[in-house]
């Protein structure tokens, strides 16, 4: 009986440190892939339903697309998939509303701080995810290099952000979520802030990664070049 209890305790440690990560990472990437596939299907169907207008003689000038701003997601409602070429070509983690561990971060992956803007909007899109355990979506956050693409895919298309810098803050540094991080000025730029725990396996600090918005690619135009940059 005691031996059984000991084995189960050791199993828990193994699960928390390794087994749960294999399961979690595989589940989250698979979920992200199926969400993406679903959006592609929906788009293909909508296009056959209403065929694109006949091509005119003059092709439209390639103007930068205006980003589509999605509505705020409900708690634990999946609205996007994050892809970071630096983390591998198969990295495809679902994003959902809210940053509770029980409902969003543990089972789904990346959580969107409620009330912060949605991708493509002016201001600071703030998200959080585990750096260790539960598939550890932000495990390699400290490996990001300036200029790395961070792509958020939604039903409407792809939002490419470019990583700028890392910062280590205290757990209560909520000013990293400000429209312009760590200031009180009004935003006229578009930012993305990712928070996770630091050091790994502890909670004494937070690691924060800042990125700036580069472009929006509508689904009709196909996946952006930023996604292909696998290093």
């Amino acid at each position: 009986m005691l031996i059984t209890a000991g084995v189960i305790t050791l199993l828990f440690v193994a699960w928390q440190l390794w087994i749960g990560d294999w399961i979690g990472a595989a589940q989250k990437n698979a979920a992200g892939q199926s969400i993406t596939a679903q959006w592609e299907d929906d788009f293909a169907q909508s296009r056959t339903a209403s065929p694109a207008p006949a091509p005119t003689d003059e092709p439209a000038p390639p103007a930068p697309a205006k980003p589509v701003i999605a509505p705020q997601p409900k708690d634990a409602q999946v609205f996007g998939v994050m892809r970071i070429p630096r983390f591998g070509a198969d990295y495809q983690v679902p994003m959902a509303g809210g940053v509770s561990r029980a409902r969003t971060l543990d089972p789904i992956g990346i959580g969107h701080y409620p009330g912060t803007p949605m991708p493509g909007a002016v201001g600071n899109v703030a998200v959080a995810a585990h750096r260790t355990t539960f598939g550890k979506p932000f495990h390699r956050i400290a490996d990001l290099q300036a200029g790395d693409a961070i792509v958020i895919e939604t039903k409407a298309g792809w939002y490419t952000y470019r990583f700028r810098n890392l910062e280590y803050v205290t757990p209560h540094a909520v000013d990293v979520l400000q429209p312009v991080p760590q200031t009180s000025i009004r935003a006229n730029g578009k930012y993305l802030t990712m928070t996770s725990c630091s050091p790994m396996y502890f909670k004494s600090e937070r690691i924060v990664a800042y990125s700036v918005f580069e472009s929006f690619t509508p689904r009709a135009d196909g996946a952006p070049a930023s996604l292909a940059e696998v290093s």
Binding site: F12, I19, P171
Partner: protein, 51 residues
């Protein structure tokens, strides 16, 4: 505990072994997907958000 379990199970030894393996698989699945995630919420010292 395990000796009693072995005596209660029906059939020849290999049927008992199969039943036990299946039961172990079910227990492991329940632990990995339901019990451990829940326990982790209670004791795990990991916070990833600022507040």
């Amino acid at each position: 505990m395990y000796a009693a379990l072995w005596r209660i199970l029906p059939g020849p030894w290999w049927v008992r072994l199969l039943i036990l393996l299946a039961a172990a698989a079910v227990v492991l699945y329940a632990l990995f997907f339901y019990v451990f995630p829940w326990v982790s919420l209670l004791i795990d010292p990991q916070d990833v958000t600022v507040r």
